[in-house]
């Protein structure tokens, strides 16, 4: 017999997080809540004399399935908040009465029956499970193998893009760049020639002007960059002698004209861009 307290605890950690499926705005919250539900279910299995299944539940669901969900959520963009405004007229009511009615109905039906509970149940230890699995259910087991093959093939077919043309050598990349008249050298890295070499700080050109393009756009959108001008002020300070060294060595390498921010980015050929050209 199952302890009442355990039941209620399990009920609480499954049902309450499960409601996030309906109410939570962020998909990641939903996924994490479902992980909790799965853990709760694993606890329920163990309580119900199914220890092996409890462990499998943790491994398969929280460990694999939900992580896969999370992974895909990351892939499509974690940040997306869902607009919870309902667009279909009456859908909420249908959901409330349909799903709610379904649940109420099922509960009413199950509550009406009483089944005698086995006094000495067979506990689902791994060896017991294995015995049943490979006796009566061995064919199902084998057929499941085909199911897994299908799933793997399906995922490959729908998502795998093979290399469609040979990888370009560095020489070819460079040649292409020159051919289209773009900058033959790499984009400057952020933080170079300043006393900071952090990613959120723009590089400075030989004149000490910050190069805006050297910082990732994403950081800019997030307002997580630091102003280059701030560092420039420091650079001009004659009391700091170390700065002139850096300035001197930088001059030879980068030509101000070439680093003109307007020219740099748009003309820069990259493998993607040339593909697109060819594709047309």
């Amino acid at each position: 017999m199952v302890d009442t307290v355990i039941f209620w605890v399990i009920a609480a950690i499954t049902v309450i997080p499960a409601f996030s499926l309906i109410f939570a705005r962020k998909a990641v919250y939903v996924a994490m809540s479902i992980v909790l539900v799965m853990v709760g279910l694993a606890a329920a299995y163990i309580t119900l004399d199914a220890p092996f299944l409890g462990v499998v539940q943790i491994v398969v669901y929280t460990g694999a399935v939900m992580m896969l969900f999370l992974f895909v959520l990351m892939l499509v963009g974690v940040d997306r908040r869902e607009d919870m405004k309902e667009t279909l007229t009456g859908q909420r009511w249908i959901a409330l009465f349909g799903a709610g009615g379904l649940g109420a109905f099922l509960i009413a039906m199950v509550a009406r029956v009483s089944l005698p509970v086995a006094e000495e149940p067979l506990v689902g230890e791994p060896d017991v499970i294995a015995g049943v699995l490979f006796e009566r259910y061995v064919l199902v087991m084998e057929v499941l193998g085909f199911l897994l093959i299908t799933a793997a093939v399906g995922a490959l077919v729908l998502t795998h893009v093979p290399r469609l043309k040979p990888r370009k050598t560095q020489l070819e990349v460079q040649r292409d760049r020159v051919r289209v008249g773009a900058d033959p050298v790499n984009k400057v890295f952020p933080g170079v020639y300043a006393r900071h070499n952090a990613l959120d700080v723009p590089a400075l050109d030989p004149q000490g002007e910050p190069i805006e393009q050297s910082v990732s756009r994403v950081l800019k959108v997030r307002n997580q960059t630091q102003e280059g001008a701030h560092f420039r002020a420091r650079l001009d300070d004659p009391s700091r002698a170390g700065g002139s060294d850096a300035e001197h060595s930088g001059r030879g390498l980068s030509d101000p004209e070439r680093l003109d921010p307007d020219r740099l980015d748009p003309d820069r050929p990259d493998p993607e861009g040339s593909d697109r050209e060819e594709g047309r």
């Binding site: 279909l88 249908i94 349909g98 009615g101 379904l102 109905f105």
Partner: protein, 626 residues
């Protein structure tokens, strides 16, 4: 020979297939193959007929089991043929008239590059029609029924490079589907109540079935018959179907296919015996259509359309007779046979006229063709006399009997039905005479490029043979009630009932009305000048009204309301039937559109449908079960 009767279906079918597949190679000999196939059916049919004549009356029903079509299960279905006097009558009529028309077509279609295909379709038609009449179950009959439908659509639309013709074929197609639903429904009802659809099972099961079921079955059958036989309210397609080549009109829309409805009603006699209400509706539909067809016939200037209206009207007579029960069955079939001869003859005559007049069909452009086309004039004239019911020509023997039978009964029914039949005879006389006089008499109103000439012998010979039939077949079959006795094993012996009026009075009245009709037609279309443009007889103008006042009783009584009625009918035709046909029935698409909107494309709505559906079905089952 009786056991070989399946040949009459197989031979033309195979021939049709050969013609269709052979391609241009068959251009040289294809038409003769078609003729030979058709002729062979007549030979086999005639052999069977001779064999059956040698049998005693009660033995004259021969079932030919072909094979078990759908074996197994509680409902089994055999493919079998039933040869009895009724089906054999049709076999002879179809194969004989059909063969003549095949011969005629050889010349008529001479210049058509696709003549072999035309003959393929004709053969297909003959095979399907013979299957229709020889089938021993409603189901196999239905196969033939669809087959003649198919062949008929193919033939109506044969010149489908002209859009109007294709439209006509389409209309015939769709209107006939409405009728087909009737037949399907009837079969469904039979399956449900008798457990079978062969004639024998149905006849056995009738005694145990409720009147309501029988009435429903009967009405469904009537709907089917109306579709195929162009009876009210499904008559609209026949006029348009005249777009097909004229031999087609002669074969399908005069002699054979359109009479299938009458065959169906007579064949279903056991069902109708148990359903007097349905029977009365049949008679009423027949009476209504015969008057309506006649009125439409008076208003048409297109020779083929006038003949089509006349066909409608004459089939109305047959329907009326078939609705009268056992006393009428034999006469219905009798009239069907004689009508087959004279109407086919007249259609061929019309075709001959068109052939000589550059495919002109407007009667107002004919006139005085008597001299130019003597053979056509004579043969057409014999058909004309026959349809008028002038003694001793064929129509007299068959139509008069129907009029007499219509007057049998109690209450007002005989007066209404008989009256309609009687008036119809007068109207028939008027419009057929109008047609005849406008075409062959009066002054020539030809256009300049027309040089009427007689048709070649291949065309005139069939016309002559049919004309001989029109003239004497009725007399031959009527003497000693030969035809009625021949059909007796099928239709049953009819008790003789006295009409509500003495027979001599009915006959006199009929002949008087016929004479009046002919005289009036002669006065207006034979003796007087016929304007080449249709006069404006609209009621809206005072001038037209004055015209009506000056005119004779005939015109005052019949034509004015007639014109009005005709126009209303034509309007109803165009407005109601066409719309119903072209747009499908109006209600369904609306419902469909509404339901369709539920399929919104939103997968969440679909899921909602499923959940709600699940809740509903689970509630139904569980609440029902607990």
């Amino acid at each position: 020979m009786l056991d070989l009767i399946w040949l009459v279906i197989a031979v033309p079918l195979v021939s049709s297939g050969i013609l269709l597949l052979a391609g241009r190679r068959a251009n040289a000999w294809g038409h003769w193959l078609g003729v030979a196939a058709s002729a062979s059916t007549f030979v086999v049919g005639f052999g069977a007929f001779l064999q059956m004549l040698g049998m005693a009356g009660e033995e004259r029903s021969h079932a030919v089991h072909l094979y078990s079509w759908i074996p197994g299960g509680d409902l089994q279905l055999d493919a079998g043929l039933l040869v009895d006097p009724l089906s054999l009558t049709f076999v002879l009529l179809v194969s004989f008239v059909g063969t003549l028309i095949h011969v005629y077509s050889v010349a008529y279609m001479e210049h058509d590059p696709n003549r072999r295909i035309f003959f393929s379709y004709l053969n297909l038609f003959v095979a399907a029609m013979l299957l229709l009449v020889l089938a021993d179950s409603y189901l196999l009959l239905f196969v033939g029924w669809e087959g003649v439908g198919l062949a008929s659509y193919l033939l109506i639309g044969f010149w489908n490079h002209k859009p109007a013709y294709a439209t006509a074929a389409k209309k015939a197609f769709v209107v006939n589907r409405i009728g087909d639903i009737g037949l399907i429904l009837a079969m469904g009802l039979m399956l449900a109540s008798f457990g079978g659809v062969d004639f024998a099972t149905v006849a056995d099961g009738v005694s145990g079935a409720s009147t309501a079921t029988l009435t429903a079955t009967g009405l469904a059958l009537l709907l089917a018959a109306c579709g195929k036989s162009a009876q009210f309210p499904l008559q609209s397609w026949l006029g348009d179907a005249m777009a097909g080549p004229t031999p087609v009109s002669a074969l399908i829309h005069a002699a054979t296919m359109v009479t299938a409805g009458v065959y169906l009603i007579v064949r279903s006699a056991p069902v109708f015996e148990g359903a007097p209400d349905a029977q009365l509706v049949v008679a009423a539909v027949g009476a209504l259509t015969l008057i309506m067809g006649a009125l439409i016939g008076m208003a048409k200037d297109d020779i083929k359309k006038a003949l089509a209206a006349s066909t409608m009207s004459q089939i109305g007579y047959m329907m009326l007779a078939a609705g009268l029960g056992p006393i009428g069955y034999a006469f219905a079939i009798f009239h069907l046979v004689t009508h087959g001869f004279f109407k086919a003859g007249m259609f061929l005559g019309a075709g001959s006229v068109m052939h000589g007049m550059n495919d002109q069909v407007d009667m107002r452009r004919f006139g005085a063709l008597r001299a130019a086309m003597v053979t056509t004039w004579v043969t057409f004239g014999l058909g004309w006399l026959a349809i008028l019911g002038v003694p001793p020509f064929s129509g007299f023997w068959s139509k008069d009997k129907i009029i007499e039978a219509a007057f049998v009964g109690e209450g007002v029914q005989p007066w209404i039905l008989g009256g309609a039949a009687l008036v119809g005879a007068g109207l028939t006389a008027f419009y057929m005479s109008r047609l005849f006089f406008m075409t062959f008499h009066g002054k020539a109103r030809w256009t300049d490029d027309q040089h009427p000439h007689e048709s070649p012998a291949l065309m005139t010979v069939p016309m002559i043979i049919l004309a001989v039939g029109s003239a004497f077949l009725g007399l031959f079959l009527a003497v000693g009630d030969r035809f009625a006795h021949w059909l007796e094993p099928v239709t049953g012996h009819a008790e003789h009932h006295d009409p509500v009026m003495p027979i001599w009075l009915i006959m006199t009245l009929t002949l008087a009305l016929v004479a009046l009709g002919v005289w009036e037609a002669w006065r207006r279309y034979g003796a007087a000048d016929v304007p080449t443009e249709a006069p404006d007889v609209s009621l809206a103008t005072v001038a037209a009204r004055n015209d009506f006042f000056q005119d004779s009783v005939n015109r005052g009584v019949f034509e004015r309301p007639g014109t009005h009625l005709t126009r209303t009918l034509v309007y109803a035709d165009a407005a109601v039937i066409d719309r119903a046909v072209n747009g499908g029935a109006q209600g369904w698409p609306k419902t469909g559109e509404a339901v369709r909107r539920a399929q919104s494309g939103q997968v969440r709505s679909y899921a909602a449908t499923m959940v709600v559906g699940l809740v509903i079905v689970v509630l139904i089952v569980v609440l029902g079960g607990l």
